[in-house]
């Protein structure tokens, strides 16, 4: 088993074009476009309130878009919303289960909604329960389950009808690292079995480790999209310097402009993110030049570029803000 993301086949299972949703004066989603290819995990990365859940809600037919088009397996979703819903597996952010029922009974009910009956339903229940590691607890009322187990069953309910495209809306919120690892493994297994996943999260590490491609979303707009490598490349080749101290943005900006191979990605009073180009004289040379400028630098961090840095560069704030 590997943690490396899988590449899709290139055939789009889901296409979103110019999608927009307005609630009164609030523009929740502002003209986003992306495509999810068959067999890939496409990540939707952004902070809370960025528009991820609203986008998912429009894709699965809970909300009607103000503008734009959604194609599922090439068919416009608005032409036959019920058929589109049948083809999608939706795993909501909330753990939406019936606490009084067992895992099996929850799945029986849910499978029935998708038209599964009899032996076919029983076989699918056994498969998905094994898939999420709950085969042994199938008959137990889920009010006895831990938070992680409920999350896994929540995921299983989205898989019961074996959909080609699965929408996972922050499926790991509020669970411990072990349970998170289990869920990510299930998602990888599902994709290995030929399914496609649209995965929303605000966890950078999760997105980076799991997703083949990503869209970074904030304030309802996609700021950047591509593979993790492509996104990081937007920062440039080199190392990142994070500075803290008593300097002003103007003073630092003037100094940075005089140093070859140094680019200011984000500069504020007392804090700055700088890129030291790989082709330049190096990090040591840049730091020496900065200290010589007498900027009262009190802290320096040197690291390789990450999605967090990209988000900071794109939005001017950290994803965790």
């Amino acid at each position: 088993m590997t943690d490396e993301p899988h590449a899709g086949t290139g055939v789009p299972v889901l296409e979103v074009k110019g999608l927009r949703k307005v609630f009164g004066d609030l523009v929740a989603v502002d003209g986003i476009s992306f495509a999810v290819r068959e067999g890939e995990i496409f990540g939707f990365l952004g902070p809370n309130g960025a528009g991820k859940t609203t986008s998912i809600s429009m894709i699965c037919g809970l909300l009607t878009p103000t503008e734009g088009e959604i194609l599922v397996e090439g068919r416009p979703a608005r032409d036959d919303p019920r058929e589109v819903k049948r083809r999608l597996g939706v795993v909501p952010q909330e753990v939406a289960l019936y606490e009084e029922l067992s895992a099996r009974e929850n799945l029986e009910f849910w499978g029935g909604i998708y038209g599964l009956r009899g032996a076919g339903l029983r076989a699918r229940i056994a498969t998905v329960l094994d898939q999420v590691g709950l085969g042994e607890r199938a008959r137990e009322p889920i009010k006895n389950f831990s938070g992680g187990m409920k999350r896994r069953l929540n995921l299983a309910m989205g898989l019961i009808h074996d959909p080609r495209l699965i929408l996972l809306d922050e499926p790991t919120v509020g669970i411990d690292p072990q349970a998170r690892h289990n869920i990510l493994e299930v998602v990888r297994d599902v994709v290995r079995a030929g399914r496609t996943v649209l995965y929303t999260t605000h966890y950078l590490e999760e997105a980076e480790a799991l997703c083949d491609r990503l869209a970074i979303i904030d304030h309802g707009r996609i700021l950047a999209q591509g593979t993790v490598a492509e996104l990081k490349a937007q920062l440039g080749e080199g190392s990142l310097l994070t500075l803290q101290g008593g300097f002003t943005a103007i003073a630092l900006g003037e100094v940075v402009a005089r140093i070859d191979g140094l680019t200011a990605l984000e500069v504020g009073d007392g804090r700055a993110l700088l890129l030291v180009a790989r082709a330049s004289a190096g990090v040591g040379h840049a730091l020496e030049a900065l200290y010589r400028a007498d900027l009262r630098i009190e802290g320096v961090t040197i690291k390789e570029p990450s999605l967090e840095d990209l988000f900071l560069k794109l939005t001017g704030r950290e994803l965790r803000d």
Partner: protein
């Protein structure tokens, strides 16, 4: 639809606390109230009311009345003790439910056509018994008034005869008897038809006396109220599912919104009928209800009531925004309908103003229907009006509630 109903039935089975409370409530109330009112099986079980009687008059009429209330059948209900001036002091000690005082010259005043007054002193610590005495004395005053108007002259002559020291002449007694007889005969056509009619009604309702049971009566009243709570809980489950995210999840599935909302209402009707059946079985086992009872008519009446109850609850819940608002408004409506419709107080005992409002409640029609079916040996034809009204209310309220709930549930998507 069946999958949705099955799922909710399992949920109720696995989490039975609320359901058990809804079953226990009517049984507990019936047992309590039934015991307080003596069970209704035998009149002897109701203790006689203690009444003190102070006769300051000592005249013909008061002696006559004391003789009348000394009969055995009256003694079963009234324990009358004649007292002197110490009557009020004994009342202050709580010795009796009421003190009735015949004032001085009561007989003279009454026979002379002058206003005469009976005095009743009630025991403030008791509620029902003094009221019964008060009502009884009022009835007595009305009878005496009518008696005076009808036979005033003859009664005066009778008093003169009794007060005289010598035996009256046969001719005088005969003349008086003929006069009284003539006065009463003139009233034949007014007196006898009502008596005949009462007799006929008693014949038709003969089984009622045999089958009536206070426990069963209260069971019907309170079960109806419990079923309203069942309906509220069943429909209110939509709020819980909205809160948990389940409704949103279902709306993202191929399940139609009409199916989701409709299934909740149908579940409410089915579950209400199940509880009704269970309470009926318990009532029969405890002999609070006695067969034969027309089962199809009872089922139909119960189903129409459950439908109407779910419809009304759907309508109410569709008008509010939060689970809390739904809970408060639902409770108010249930309590309002129950108090006006006869689930808390027997309708006949309500003030006129409240009685006029009773037919606007579901409780009124279903309680009336079940009373007829259970105690009156009635059949479907007898309660057809009740069934029709509840069915019509059910269809209208359910349709309106369903449409409004659909609209409200769509908001979940946002």
């Amino acid at each position: 639809m069946l999958g949705f109903i099955r799922k909710d039935l399992i949920r109720r089975w696995r989490s039975p606390a609320a359901t058990l409370a809804m079953i226990a409530f009517p049984l507990f109330m019936s047992g309590m109230i039934g015991m307080v009112s003596g069970g209704g099986k035998d009149d002897e079980q109701f203790p006689p009311i203690k009444v003190l009687l102070e006769d300051r008059d000592g005249g013909l009429l008061t002696e006559f009345l004391k003789g009348a209330i000394g009969r055995e059948e009256v003694k079963k209900r009234l324990l009358i003790t004649e007292v002197g001036v110490e009557g009020r002091a004994r009342m202050e000690n709580g010795d009796a439910s009421a003190l009735v005082i015949f004032p001085e010259r009561f007989t003279d005043d009454l026979l002379a056509g002058r206003p005469a007054q009976l005095e009743v002193v009630r025991n403030p610590a008791e509620g029902i018994s003094p009221e019964i005495v008060d009502q009884g004395v009022q009835a007595l005053a009305a009878y005496l008034d009518q008696l005076q108007r009808l036979l005033g002259a003859q009664l005066d002559s009778l008093r003169t005869l009794i007060d005289a020291d010598e035996m009256p002449a046969s001719a005088t007694v005969g003349t008086l008897a003929v006069a009284v007889n003539d006065r009463l005969r003139g009233l034949d056509r007014y007196l006898f038809p009502p008596l005949v009619r009462i007799e006929r009604v008693k014949q038709a309702k003969a089984p009622v006396a045999d089958r009536f049971n206070v426990y069963g009566y209260i069971l019907i009243m309170t079960t109806v109220m419990a079923l309203l709570f069942v309906a509220a809980r069943s429909v209110g489950d939509l709020f819980e599912e909205r809160k948990s995210g389940m409704l949103r999840r279902q709306l993202a599935s191929p399940a139609d919104l009409r199916l989701i909302v409709g299934a909740k209402i149908v579940f409410g009707v089915v579950f209400g009928l199940l509880l009704l059946g269970l309470l009926a079985v318990i009532g029969l086992a405890l002999r609070w209800l006695r067969p034969p009872i027309d089962l199809p008519a009872s089922l139909l009446l119960g189903a129409c009531f459950s439908l109407a109850a779910c419809g009304v609850m759907s309508l109410i819940f569709a008008l509010v925004r939060t689970e809390k608002q739904a809970g408060i408004l639902g409770w108010l409506v249930i309590m309002g309908m129950s108090s006006l419709g006869g689930s808390m107080i027997n309708i006949e005992n309500m003030p006129q103003a409240m009685q006029r409002l009773s037919p606007f409640t579901l409780n009124y029609w279903v309680i009336d229907g079940f009373k007829q079916l259970v105690f009156g040996g009635a059949h479907l034809g007898d309660v057809a009006k009740n069934v029709a009204i509840l069915a019509a209310a059910g269809v209208v309220a359910t349709l309106a509630g369903y449409l409004l709930l659909m609209r409200r549930s769509r908001e979940v998507k946002a």
